[in-house]
Amino acid sequence: MNLIISPVILYLLSAFLIALLWKEYEKLSGIACLSFSILSLISVILLGKYVFLNERIVYYVGGWEIPIGITLMVDALSYIFLFVLNFILPLICWFSLSYMEKYTKAGYFYVLFSLISAGLNGILISMDFFNIYVFLEISSIASYILVAFGLRTEELEASLKYTILGFIGSTIILIAIGLIFGKTGTLNIADFTYIAKNINEIQLWFIIGFFISGFALKTALFPFHFWLPDAHSLAPSPVSAILSGLFIKVTGFYLLLRIITNIFTMFPESKIIILGLGLISMIFGSLMALDQTDIKRTYAYSSISQIGYCALALGIGGYYGYLGAILHFIFHSFSKSLLFLNSGAIEYRYKTTKIDELKGLQDKMPYTTMTASSGMLSISGVPPFGCFWSKIIIIISAIKAHYFGIAFICVVVSIITLGYFLKLQRNIFYSKDEFKTINEVNYNLLMPMIILSILISLSGLIFLPNLKIYIDKAVNVMENFKYAQIMEK
């Protein structure tokens, strides 16, 4: 089925065409990038029918069979990630059309945007360790450059820090891949899991240790988090929305999830490590977010805290744990992308994101205020907005697994989250300021935010039986699927 490679091909084509032909024409390159991303969304929607009919689609690149060639695969789990990714990317691109006007050479922005999207799509469809590494690096290098896109001094420094740590993370992952290749002589994930039954356990623990530390660095779980607040808060706002909403989840969380649940199925103990890391980063991120003076830094620390929830749910495991992890991924992607786009809209009018300098946005930018409120309430876990549903499922899963302390901490962290977002709301949106005259932002900036906030408000609909089937199929993949099944057929 050729639809499986179409998102990667379309985004790569967009990157090359814009770089070769249209990079001088900023409007044209933006519209070209937007149309390619919409085409990619359409191809993913068409792909859905085949994925859910056949359980999974396996594509052999060049017709080479499994141990020899590169193999691509989409199943229900990666399809949900693909769908969320390809749904949010066109909205961010639409937002960038107006936002990027203040930067010179905006044509290059769309080139890098397409490359980062191609890399993220590639990670989701790939079933080969080295191929995953290559796509990881395509998207990572594009993101290093995008963080420094504004060329202000702080951005350069944040990008330097991010590049060095990102490179270390990638190197650790590459060493793990090298160990796998040296031990088994194969790079295909299905083939590796088939062979891995006969390998000494201590050597496998070594490999999984490298993988967990590498991907934890990419996900910014607690001891590896310190690059994230700088990189995510100083990048241009659409880039922050990609990085915080999608990038850390696809390059880190998705691969961690695959490693824990599908590839190294023989070590259920490794979940405890993820649970611990998730718990600490959840508490730490929310406490740090309380005391920030910049909106985007607050959002960045909040990302650390919320990715902690995802990791915690993954660590608890079981049906409810996995369901909570997937739902929290979906809703947090929507909410955090919305919030970062929102901070971009504020920055577009006020030229700053410092909390002290912003006042009384309720009267001046009513739609921005409304969308910001829905995103903040969603992340704090207020019904009926998105993250309420996922958080309550995570708490249920903790209680079912008899982790009563963890369930209590989840509730407390959720209250702290509500605390720092209410502080932001009171200071920025619902305060009085008569001095500045500022208008609402234009249509291009507003529409993506409104679409995202409507989706967040309606997110309870995901529990309708017609939609929940698809989520259940993804959870089923996490619980029961082993890559070795592909080899046994």
């Binding site: 420094a148 350069l156 420094e157 490179f167 270390i168 060493i175």
Partner: protein, 116 residues
């Protein structure tokens, strides 16, 4: 076995350069050494004692070729990996030029503004 120990030493020398040195250029050199260590690790995985290049010359028997030749896959992987390292290092070099323009220094002590 000696080569793997050498690779480990090389790797930690690179990590030392990246973590301890305060000069950006020295950090980039450390990063480069780490990249080379990992590439060498891959090459060493495919190495055979007295191996030949994995190219079939006319008149060579397939069985003999399979026994003698080194594994070509790691070499292909290392080519990709070298390109990735190259692009990261190019970007870091360009970044350090920009940082020098802003601060007039490569010293990280003078550059630090962010809290982290």
């Amino acid at each position: 076995m000696i080569i793997f120990i050498a690779i480990a030493i090389m790797f930690f020398v690179g990590i030392y350069g990246m973590m301890v040195k305060k000069n950006i250029i020295k950090m980039i050199i450390g990063l480069n050494i780490v990249g080379y260590a990992v590439n060498l690790f891959f090459i060493a995985l495919g190495y055979k004692e007295d191996g030949i290049a994995p190219i079939i010359i006319p008149g060579m028997e397939i069985k003999e070729f399979v026994e003698k030749s080194v594994n070509p896959l790691p070499q292909a992987l290392v080519l990709t990996s070298i390109v990735i390292d190259l692009s990261v290092i190019c970007f870091l070099a360009a970044l350090s030029i920009r940082i020098y323009e802003k601060y007039g220094s490569f010293d990280l002590e003078k550059i630090r503004r962010l809290k982290g």
